[in-house]
Structures are given as structure tokens and as C-alpha cells.
Symmetry: C2
Subunit: 330 residues, 2 copies
């Protein structure tokens, strides 16, 4: 057990206390497990609420702030938050313009956000929902019916967040979010398993010298296991897997995402190979983001997410954002 924790039972509460003291521009309700923009509700703006199991930081709490999420609901590690958290978040951030729930496609999250939507609507809050399901690696897996939601979640939260920030109405913000998801695809690889605090040891067995192609963000099995490959070979495999399912005719937004324990030095080197493959495939790149954004605790590995952009989506991507995990433009 090589974890910087007190005991497994308090990991999420401890992290929320630490977020609260580091980020005075957030309201962190440790007891009720809700992270809010301090200035919420913002008059005239649609509010964005997301959430999911903890262990993927900075997703989602690190993306709460002007230009992105209004609130996030962290569950226990790799466990869906409960409807109460989502209803509480929605009530706290709704200005009357309605709330968009951004839901990664995992069975627990989908059920709980559905239930929360009903409860919130009973309280008179207008709710729209968008499901993120960008991972091309597998259909159906340990936690999911259909495709898993992974790296594109960041794109949906950022771009729909920019639309909300400039006052677009709920149906338009929802349409933008849906469009971003439809235009996005991801593929991830693991070079090591991750260890949850509760288990204290790797969640699956990945022998040294092998890698798992098509891994999920909870260590769910991927497509296949192979002997270790070079960064260039992995980029070929991952980018081609994405492009089997996405045929972009306009420049893409690229996320080269670390799973948590892969050093930035390696991620940048991997990005060079991703860009090489994209060039070879004739795909031009409008923007690239490299870093640990949608993680799996201490897993080593990386994922590639591409989104086919247009002028309007690019404008919204470039719009100012001010969160703990993503910040630019003001």
C-alpha cells in the first residue's frame, strides 16, 4: 500500500477538505459531497452539473468554475454519486434558466442521474441530460451498457460550459453538448493497473512487460493484452482505433490524456507520436491539450480523444475558463 491517505473510509472527505482550503472560489460542501461555483446561481445562465465516482481528478470537481461546470457531485472512489447529491447541486445552481446534467455512460451514474432528474423536476427545476459515450474500445463492459464515457467528458463540459456562460438557452446548451459528444471518440491504454484505497492493491493483474489496449478509466478490461509496445506503436494503434469510427473532414481538437501516473515527459513524447499519426492520416489538428485530466488514480497509461470541430465549437473551446484544473483566457 503506497498511498498518501489516512484511511480508505475518509479519502473522499479528506480530498474535499483539501480542495476547500486550496480554492476559495469554490464552495465545497464536504458533508453533502457537492462542489459549487461560489457565484452560483448566475442570473440568466443555464447551469451545468456533472459528477461521477472519485478517482478521476481533476474531473469533475476540478472543472467547476466560470466557463465550465456550475457544480460537481463526487461519489466514493469509482462509485456513482447518489441522486440526493445531484438534486442538491441542481437546486443550488439553478437560476431559473434550467440545468444540464452531463452524465458519463456508466450504469450507476445513468440510473442515479435519471432519478435525480425526476426529483429535481418535481421541485420545479427544468432539467436536460446529455450522455457521454466516446470510448470506442469496447461495447458493453464491467460498468457499462454501450460505450463508456471517458475523455470527451472534458470537451463536453468545457464547450457546453462556454455556451452556458454566454447565456445560451437550455435547449441550445444541450444541443451543443450532444454535438460535442457525437463528434468525439476516445481510446485508452494501460501500462499498469490502478489501486483503489479500499482494496489497497492493484484492481487487476497486468504483468510487467505487458499493456492493456482499450482500457477503461476504472481498469475495466479493454480489447486485448499485448507485450509492451513503443510510444509510436501505441499511438498508431490508439489513433487508428479512433479513426475507424470518426472520419473528420475538419480540424480536430485532440486530448492526449494521462491516466494518472504517467509522467508529463512521457505524455509529451506520446503526443509527438499522436500528431505524427494524425499527419499521416491526413487529419489536421486545431488544438491540442496534453496532461492528466481524466485519470484512474495511479494507473500508468494514456488515452487519446479527438473531436471534429467547426468554427463555432472552436470559438467556444477557446472562450475563457477559470477552474482549478483548466484555466485560460482571463
Amino acid at each position: 500500500m503506497r498511498m498518501l491517505i489516512n484511511v480508505a473510509e475518509t479519502v473522499v472527505a479528506d480530498a474535499l477538505r483539501g480542495m476547500a482550503s486550496a480554492h476559495p472560489d469554490l464552495v465545497v460542501d464536504v458533508e453533502n459531497r457537492v462542489i459549487l461555483r461560489r457565484d452560483a446561481p448566475v442570473a440568466g445562465q443555464v447551469a451545468l452539473v456533472s459528477g461521477g465516482g472519485s478517482g478521476h481528478e481533476p474531473l469533475h470537481g476540478g472543472f467547476v468554475g466560470p466557463g465550465m461546470l456550475s457544480a460537481a457531485c463526487p461519489g466514493e472512489v469509482f462509485t456513482s454519486p447518489v441522486p440526493d447529491q445531484m438534486v442538491r447541486a441542481a437546486a443550488a445552481v439553478d437560476s431559473g434558466a434550467g440545468v444540464l446534467f452531463i452524465v458519463k455512460n456508466y450504469t450507476g451514474d445513468v440510473l442515479n442521474f435519471d432519478m435525480a432528474a425526476e426529483l429535481a423536476e418535481d421541485e420545479g427545476i427544468q432539467i436536460a441530460k446529455v450522455l457521454v459515450n466516446d470510448d470506442v474500445a469496447v461495447t458493453d463492459s464491467l460498468y457499462t451498457a454501450g460505450r463508456r464515457g471517458t475523455g470527451a467528458t472534458l470537451f463536453v463540459e468545457k464547450i457546453a460550459g462556454a455556451a452556458a456562460e454566454e447565456g445560451q438557452p437550455l435547449e441550445r446548451v444541450e444541443a451543443v453538448a450532444r454535438q460535442v459528444n457525437e463528434r468525439s471518440r476516445s481510446f485508452g491504454v494501460a501500462l499498469s493497473a490502478c489501486s483503489t484505497p479500499a482494496k489497497g492493491s492493484p484492481t487487476f493483474d497486468l504483468p510487467s512487460g505487458e499493456l492493456e489496449l482499450g482500457i477503461g478509466i476504472h481498469g475495466e478490461p479493454g480489447r486485448e493484452r499485448r507485450p509492451m509496445m513503443t510510444s509510436g506503436e501505441i499511438a498508431d494503434f490508439a489513433v487508428n482505433a479512433v479513426l475507424e469510427d470518426l472520419n473528420p473532414s475538419s480540424p480536430v481538437l485532440a486530448l492526449v490524456n494521462g491516466m494518472g501516473a504517467t509522467p508529463l515527459l512521457e505524455l509529451y513524447g506520446f503526443n509527438a507520436e499522436v500528431q505524427r499519426v494524425l499527419g499521416e492520416r491526413g487529419v489536421s489538428v486545431a488544438r491540442t491539450l496534453v496532461g492528466n485530466y481524466v485519470t484512474s488514480l495511479d494507473m500508468a497509461g494514456a488515452s487519446v480523444t479527438l473531436c471534429e470541430m467547426d468554427e463555432e465549437l472552436l470559438r467556444l473551446w477557446d472562450a475563457p475558463v477559470s477552474t482549478a484544473g483548466l484555466r485560460w483566457g482571463r
Copy 2:
């Protein structure tokens, strides 16, 4: 070997190519190993140049940009850059207002920056130097005579960078940098060793269930090895070690820094404990930064850096910065 690389020999060049394509606002000279602000030299501004071995990303290349460094010189992994890189960087960014070299206290870096300063002065560039030596864990170690330079490097680069950005003269920027270093102290712990690409396996042996207190950023030995401690116990040890050597009478700037492979979830939880200890010791906190900023490849662990602030230093810390690794305020 669980690395996302091609071969050890090209790790730094690959990473620089990846940085170049992700950050069009940087000029990355892959062949000569220099990373520059695209708008350098900036008329009327002192330029800041730093550098050191690779493997500590985002330090230093990720801190090049408006409000922070003008240029960075990455060496091979855990190996000092050479004087040629530093002279080339200084010549590229000097506007005539002079250049400040920011040097972490490691024998190779100190020698090479000294030589580079002489060579640059021969070319008519005015050079000042500041040595960063904030690590209270040990005096003298594997790579260092005196104290090692670690987390405070980020503070020096950010705060002196803000002074340069507003047009302060070289002697003033140097004085600010020196002041920040003198007011800063750090202490780090490792929960695992790191693996360099060249070696392909851990650089030292740290049995599971033990931790190394007072680790350096290259895995140099610390003060002592102990059976695993809780996050709270580690915070007690680290903060008290810092406060043995720093007795702040005004609010501090705190960096709770990950060594590379420690998840953000754990770092925030550790921050909660660091803040608890500071409170118990009567130290008030002006600003807190939590994240992986001064890393040691894939090492698990964390460090705490405190800097005793005053109004002017706080104003410079809060000033806008726009780099790949640190960005706020515009």
C-alpha cells in the same frame, strides 16, 4: 519497464517535439534544446532563464511564457543542461535589459550556469544569477553541496517573472528572486522510487510498506526511512521539518506538490492535513497551490514548500501568468 516511450535515447527530444505541437505560443528548438517565449525578446523587460535535468515536468519548460520564464534549457533526464544551451537561450531572450539565471542548487547545474554566465557576458549580455536551495531535509547529498533546490523554484520563477513582466530592472528582479528563495523552505517524502528511462527500473530500492522522509527530486536519500505513515502523520513530519527552519510572522504561500505518480485525490487529502498542521502551529496561509509541479518522473510522494509572504510578494504572485503549467489572471 512500464514507460510510454520509444527508446531511452530519444525521450527528451520526443517530449520537446510533443511540446512544440501542443503549444504554438512557444518556440521549441528541439535540436538545440531550448524552449522560448514566442514573443521574446520583450523590449524593456529583464529576461528569466532557467533549466535543469528533464524528468521534473512541468518544471522548467512548462513555466515559459508571459509572467514567468523567458526560456528554459532542458538537460537529459536528471542531468544538467550544458552551457551552450544557456548561452543560446540568453542571447535569444535578452532585450538589452539583462538576463536572470535561476539555478537549482545541484553541482552540475551550478557549474554549467556559472560557465554560461561568463560566456554570455563575453557576448555583452548582462547576467545575474540566483541559486535556489530550499530543501531542509539534508545538507549535502548525492548531487549537491549544501541544500537542494526543489519546490521553491516555482515560487522564484513565478514571482521574479511577474517583477520582470512589469518592467522592473535586473537588480530589482534579482533581489526579488533572492528574497523569495530566502523566505522559502521545502520538505519531501517518497512512497515509491522513480524509474529513469535509461535504467528502466527503480533508481533505488524502497520496499512496499516503507517511505523515505526527506527525499530529493532525483530519488536522492533523505533523512530516514520508516514504516508507512498516514497522510496526517506525514503532514506533521513535513510541515514541522519546514517550520524548524522557517518562522513565518506573516501569512505563507503553500505549495503541496506531487512527485509525479500520486493521484490528485490523495494530494488534496494531504493538503487538508498540511493545512491542519499549519493551523495548529499558528501559521496563516495566504495562498495554496496543489498539484504535480516539481516532479520526479513516476515517483509517488509529495513535498511541502512554504514561503513567508509580504504584500508586494503576494501582489506579484497574484499577477497574471500564462504558461503551459501555470496560468491565471488573463
